[in-house]
């Protein structure tokens, strides 16, 4: 989808976990830095469905489910969490297993409409790693997507 935007974000974060600090532990931040969670598009309009491609560059499996992820907006020099959309669907409580070196693309849901233009990113709701004894260690909202732009549709946009 081609969109015309009349504005340009001065600083669009493009690297995973590089846009602001995380409230999670340093260890999990380091893990998250080895992953890539990139929106398929760099520009969206309110109401669009955002799909995120996960690239597992680790040596172990990862588990993700982007559905219901928390949307954050860059404002006043920092990232601000937006309240969850009450109209969002329930999320099936599954996850997707991504083997080392593989990629997978899943939907984080539809953006609210209206939504202020700006730079946004997602904190992924479900992110987990293999744990001890074959278990699974879950790190909710620890993995952060690369940033993307949300802007109004220009007249005549597709």
């Amino acid at each position: 989808m081609i969109r015309s935007v009349s504005w340009v974000a001065a600083a669009l974060c493009t690297a995973t976990a590089s846009c602001g600090s995380s409230s999670t532990s340093p260890n999990i931040n380091r893990v998250a830095e080895t992953l890539r969670a990139e929106p398929v598009e760099t520009v969206y309009a309110p109401g669009d469905t955002v799909r995120i491609t996960f690239r597992n560059t680790r040596a172990t499996d990862i588990y993700v489910n982007p559905c219901g992820s928390s949307l954050e907006r860059f404002a006043s020099g920092g990232w601000v969490s937006l309240p969850p959309d009450p109209a969002a669907p329930n999320c099936g409580d599954t996850s997707h297993l991504i083997h080392p070196g593989e990629t997978w693309t899943g939907s984080a849901g539809a953006l609210k409409s209206p939504l202020s233009p700006g730079t946004y990113r997602y904190r992924i709701r479900f992110f987990a790693l293999p744990g001890a004894n074959g278990g699974i260690d879950v790190f909710p909202f620890a993995l952060i997507s690369a940033g993307f732009l949300v802007g109004p549709l220009a007249t005549g946009a597709n």
Binding site: Y63, C67, N90, D93, T94, H96, G134
Partner: protein
């Protein structure tokens, strides 16, 4: 030590490769006093599976000192009965709770029955007075089974991966619990050399000892709560093991399990040849079955106005491969670390739950948790990896769950004194990210959508 052997044999019962063995075993397990000993192991609730301690059987129950039977364990006493009652093959309570004497001859006369009953009364005490037991014709005399048991016992070796050995009266076989398929094959190949007929032996494969295995590891016999995955790499949780009326109940009939519909990479489509593994895809797990039945998608007026497509349930059915050992009627019980410590018997006569009732959920990621049913039969939109559908009539209870718990069994465990337990309640489906509430498909919807085709009690 001989008493220990008796207990060990009984310890085989909860974990079995025979889907109906648990059903048979608990009502049929031994006699009066022994029933008390194993009440914990076979009661429908939280059931530790590890053998009890080495406490002698009778004194463990009554606190009484051992009497004349002390010089022989249960197995030895049954074997000795053959001399007084030729053809005797075992004694147990059947599924209907009827005392049953197994016989391996057509000429088992009334005098023999009387002698067996005399022993029963002596063994189990004066309170258990049954004069007319049922007779069941079987293939092997108990003394023959005992000979086979002794031969196997005498030939075992360190490192053979045998974890249990005993005689099972209900199946009229010697049961050999093995840790691996390789061990099973190895021992099976040696049986002729040991003078043991293969038809006298039933193997029971355990891939790991209980208490050492979590929900995220390989575990057999398969039961609810275990981690599963499919070829689409959507890890979920094994729900309930069930039969299908159309393909038969019990015996060697095919077995199936429920999980969440959205676990399938082809959610909303007719059953694909999606393969399921436990716990994960190769090499970490092994295949357990293939997708068998899915829920049809509706549109238009069937759905809430303006909200289609929709479905009546978020569930799918996987048919087990014949080679997979399955524990029918069981959901894994776990500790806080998700170590499997036993199982919940969920074979109840009641189903479903009302608002205010407390339900339990066992999920492969979150483990075991309980919550109160807070809402019933709500229609709502559920998003899965392969699309989003309105799911009609879901119930809510805020147990702990997260990604990978979809498909988890939701149930009410057995509660002493409550005749409405245990009860199968539903299959975990989804979470509302705005409210945090958890939702499951109630069993009534599953029955409705499949026309009551599945049998689970």
């Amino acid at each position: 030590m001989k008493h220990n052997q008796t207990i060990l044999a009984a310890g085989l019962l909860p974990g079995t490769s025979d889907p109906l063995a648990a059903r048979r075993a608990c009502p049929a397990r031994l006699l009066g006093i022994l029933m008390a000993v194993f009440a914990t192991a076979c009661s429908p609730g939280d059931q530790p599976v590890a053998p009890p301690s080495s406490t002698p059987v009778r004194s463990a129950v009554s606190g009484a000192t051992l009497t004349a039977v002390a010089h022989r364990n249960f197995r030895e006493q049954l074997a000795a009965l053959d001399s007084a009652a030729p053809g005797f093959a075992g004694v147990f309570f059947d599924d209907a709770g009827q005392l049953t004497v197994a016989v391996a001859t057509d000429g088992f006369d009334a005098a023999s029955v009387a002698r067996v009953m005399e022993w029963v009364h002596e063994y189990s005490g004066p309170t258990r007075v049954v004069t007319r037991p049922n007779l069941r014709r079987v293939a092997h005399r108990y003394v023959e089974l005992y000979g086979a048991y002794q031969s196997i016992r005498d030939h075992l070796w360190s490192g053979d991966n045998v974890v249990a050995l005993g005689i099972e009266e209900t199946s009229n076989k010697v049961v050999v619990g093995v840790r691996t398929a390789t061990a099973r094959a190895s021992i099976a190949a040696k049986l002729p050399d040991w003078g043991v007929s293969a038809d006298m032996v039933r193997f029971e494969q355990r891939d790991a000892a209980l208490g050492e295995t979590t929900l995220n590891q390989t575990f057999r016999p398969a039961r609810g709560g275990l981690m599963i995955n499919n070829q689409d790499n959507n890890p979920c949780t094994l729900g309930f093991n069930v039969y299908n009326w159309n393909t038969g109940i019990g015996g060697s009939s095919p077995l199936y399990f429920f999980t969440a519909g959205h676990c399938s990479g082809t959610w909303g489509q007719p059953p694909a040849q999606t393969i399921y593994y436990q716990p994960g895809n190769s090499p970490t797990g092994s295949r357990v079955g293939v997708e068998y039945a899915t829920v049809p998608v509706h549109s238009g007026g069937y759905c809430p106005s303006g909200h289609s497509p929709c479905m009546d349930a978020d569930v799918l059915v996987v048919q087990y491969d014949d080679t997979v050992s399955v524990h029918y009627g069981a959901v894994a019980n776990v500790d806080a670390s998700k170590n499997i410590t036993g199982y919940f018997n969920v074979q109840g006569t009641t189903t479903g739950a009302f608002v205010g009732q407390v339900v339990t959920m066992v999920g492969q990621v979150s483990g075991k948790s309980t919550a109160t049913v807070r809402q019933t039969c709500m229609d709502q939109l559920v998003s899965g990896p392969a699309g989003a559908y309105w799911i009609l009539c879901q119930d809510s209870a805020d147990y702990s769950s997260t990604g990978g718990d979809s498909g988890s069994p939701v149930f009410i465990p057995y509660t002493p004194g409550n005749p409405y337990t245990p009860a199968i309640v539903g299959i975990h489906s989804s979470v509302s990210t705005s409210t945090g509430h958890k939702w499951y498909t109630p069993i009534s919807q599953i029955d409705f959508v499949f026309g009551g085709a599945y049998y689970y009690w």
